[in-house]
Amino acid sequence: MSVASVFPKLERLLPEVSKPIQYVGGELGAVVKDWDAATVRWVLSYPDAYEVGLPNQGVQILYEVLNEQADVLAERTYAVWPDLEALMRKHAVPQFTVDTHRPVRAFDLFGISFATELGYTNMLTMLDLAGIPLDSRDRDETHPIVIAGGHAAFNPEPIADFIDAAVLGDGEEAVLEITAIVRDWKAEGCPGGRDELLLRLARTESVYVPRFYDVDYLPDGRIQRVVPNRADVPFRVHKRTTMDLDAWPYPKKPLVPLAETVHERYAVEIFRGCTRGCRFCQAGMITRPVRERSITTIGEMVAEGLEFSGFGEVGLLSLSSADHSEIGNICSGLADQYQGSNVSLSLPSTRVDAFNITLAEELSRGGRRTGLTFAPEGGSERIRRVINKMVSEEDLIRTVVTAYSNGWRQVKLYFMCGLPTETDEDVLQIARLAHEVIKAGRAATGSKDIRCTVSIGGFVPKPHTPFQWAAMCSPEVIDNRLKLLKQAINSDRSLGRAIGYRYHDGQPSLIEGLLSRGDRRVGAVIRRVWEDGGRFDGWSEHFSFQRWVDAAAEVLPQFGVDLDWYTTRERDENEVLPWDHLDSGLDKEWLWQDWQDALSEYEQPDCRWTPCFDCGVCPSMDTEIQIGPTGKKLLPLTPVNTGLRVPS
């Protein structure tokens, strides 16, 4: 039975909302398939506004992988802004896909990718607008299976009531396996209903179905244990790892939006995973091991991606892009290929060393040298040893001075505040460092026309990291340190004038902390906040700290816990953490040892260049480091067709 588009109803509302084009679809790269010809139908979402959600690489990759299957259809939906939400409720227009404006409720599977926990309230809006019961137990065979993915899915316990399942790790192969299970179940006539389907998914050991696990609590509020309540359901659920990125060269046909979005570029992941071992970095911990994409595949993807999309910028993405074993040849090869073409190349996420300046010079050949960003993360040498960010002050100053000497006028330095063991003095060192940078830069260039921006964010301890046991600082402590830092930067007016200062106050971080390390009891807080109007919590103009504090105070006392218990409390070695039954491959004993090393300011080197330190990932996940060099080079692009591309 075909499903009708809601566009005729939606169309009448669009003249009344801001930026209506975001709800219309019609992007290049969008795929429209015959509903009736598909046997398995997915709707994929990044639970934020279209302008943030559309460029999301995870959604784009899975969208393409799924739509390449002949009998599978995948469409997309994003969070609608409150102006449209109000009109949709008034005129009974359900949550829709942007591809064909079909109602989300009509699909078999609803996959939501969470890069941040602050998207949880938006998920509830989408479910509610879709007419899908918020509580997964109230759903039946007519509702989609709601599956969470993305980094936040490594602890989906706070949203355990709202989702049917979660997938940890890389999605390329996981979505195809889930599709196969749903296809078979439907072909057999949906035996055993929704429960049977979820059971089949859970038995794969790589799909977590929260309802099949019971959580018991100790009298003091800590978790006693998490155990399966059904036979054949595994005690632990394992993350997925896509090996051989050359075999998965997605996105091939990137989505090119008509609306303006946060990233207007063709992005290619040059490797996945990172073993630098920065202790605060959840992404680096949960995406191990390092798997490089080869220089030749990168070159082909860039050429085809640009030709398909017409983008004027290429982003070479990874968690630490300068660490690719052939990054020098990649940058110079691409720079050669696109010299004089008005295509610009960017290399985000680079480390602090002079080699980066060489790469940046290659990428900005003949172009404007606007700004470079480095992330020392900690202000003092001591705190950098705690977080395992191995950058000496000497390195940092030398790197920045090299940048100034080579024509860059603006350098941005990124730091965190509220790190474990941090004191006021550690944060004040940031001011001293910034002063030294400006002094050295002025001396080296003989010019006063150089600037440095200090950007500082709040630290949030994340699951599956050595800091998962750490106490957060209270927002008052953070805000006071940020104030002291500002004073210290401006204590020398001549230097202070050359230093920009950007910071976020401590309150949103505390809520992110609650959601990151929360357990199932936090779900009631999320629901209360949403009922109270909480939407778009990742946006400062929509986020209300008070709403979260009030909801926590209302909901949590019945469980004998509170907001502080989840955030500013340090956990001990034996505490059962809410995500202990979810296996990222990291050995919990190794994580604890790394936490102890952090406290004793002991650094851990990178296993790409030093012997394995037994974090546990490779043996438990049956994976291995995949790095070059391949020794291959990018060849000059041969002009195949110098004329207009006229359709045949």
Binding site: F7, E11, R12, L14, P15, E16, K19, P20, I21, Y23, V24, G25, G26, E27, L28, V256, L258, A259, E260, E264, L306, E307, F308, S309, G310, F311, G312, Q337, Y338, Q339, G340, S341, N342, V343, G367, R368, P636, L637, P639, V640, N641, T642, G643, L644, R645, V646, P647
Partner: protein, 262 residues
């Protein structure tokens, strides 16, 4: 790919040909803003491998200039853009290549080589058709009569600078509500749908279909139960007879049809 062709030392290649194009914004694509279209068009230039010329400097911009664009949410059959090329191209091939490179609904309709003057001086008025679902032709005709009888109809518009008042009547050259129309109402059949034919002189600040509808409400209490749908049908210079002169006509007459292949 000509994108990789080196530019001459010290600067960008000069413009050797200017081409003027007419395009349409149709159906759901009428919700593109002018900025949205501009981004999509510049990407289409790259996708179609159009030998576009760039401005000089550290941040070279493609040589693209737009004539006054229809407002977001208003469809159009007559939008105009001029591009500067560094190599000659056949205007007919440009139409095919650019149209294929744009999303359906953003449709390139025709192209002619520019022979002088500017698009801006060939456009001083617009013709619009406005569908008013849920409004009877009689009600529309009555409102139009009241509106046209007034010498001035001040309406308010919310702009980025705040509320401003403008006269919706002055620039209106023609406004009809034909009793019968062969245009098919876009809304559900069975519901009345009045049609307005509107010609407005381009003034500053511009008076748009929205403003004229505000004027009909202010002057004659015409309420719209459902959002209207407006389409720009033509732009051009207004003749004394009230007709619009196609802004590409002068180039079309002057140009050798079908430039020599590049």
């Amino acid at each position: 790919m000509s994108r990789t062709k080196p530019q001459p030392e010290g600067g960008q290649a000069p413009v050797v040909q200017r081409v003027r194009l007419r395009y349409a914004k149709r159906g759901p694509m009428r919700f593109t803003s002018h900025r949205d279209f501009a981004r999509a068009f510049e990407r289409a230039i790259l996708r179609a491998n159009v030998p576009i010329a760039y401005s000089q400097g550290f941040t070279p911009h493609p040589k693209v200039s737009y004539a006054s664009a229809a407002p977001t949410g208003v469809a159009s059959e007559a939008e105009y853009v001029e591009i500067g090329l560094r190599e000659r191209a056949d205007p007919r091939e440009l139409v095919w290549a650019l149209d294929a490179a744009l999303s359906p609904g953003l449709d390139i309709l025709e192209a002619v080589e520019a022979t002088g003057g500017s698009l801006a001086e060939r456009i001083d008025a617009s013709a619009w058709r406005i569908e008013l679902p849920g409004v009877t032709a009689n009600a529309a005709r009555h409102a139009v009569d009241v509106f046209l009888a007034a010498t001035e109809v001040p309406v308010e518009r919310l702009t980025k600078q705040g509320r401003r008042t403008l006269d919706a009547r002055g620039p209106v050259v023609r406004l009809d509500a034909p009793q019968t129309s062969d245009a098919t109402p876009s809304e559900v059949s069975g519901v009345p749908c009045a049609i307005l034919d509107l010609v407005v002189r381009q003034v500053t600040p511009s008076v748009r279909p929205d403003d004229v509808l505000s004027g009909l409400r202010v002057a004659a209490d015409l309420e719209l139960p459902v959002p209207p749908r407006a389409t720009r049908l033509a732009q051009g210079v207004l003749t004394p007879q009230g007709e619009l002169v196609d802004p590409l006509a002068a180039d079309r007459d002057a140009a050798v049809i079908g430039a020599p292949p590049p």
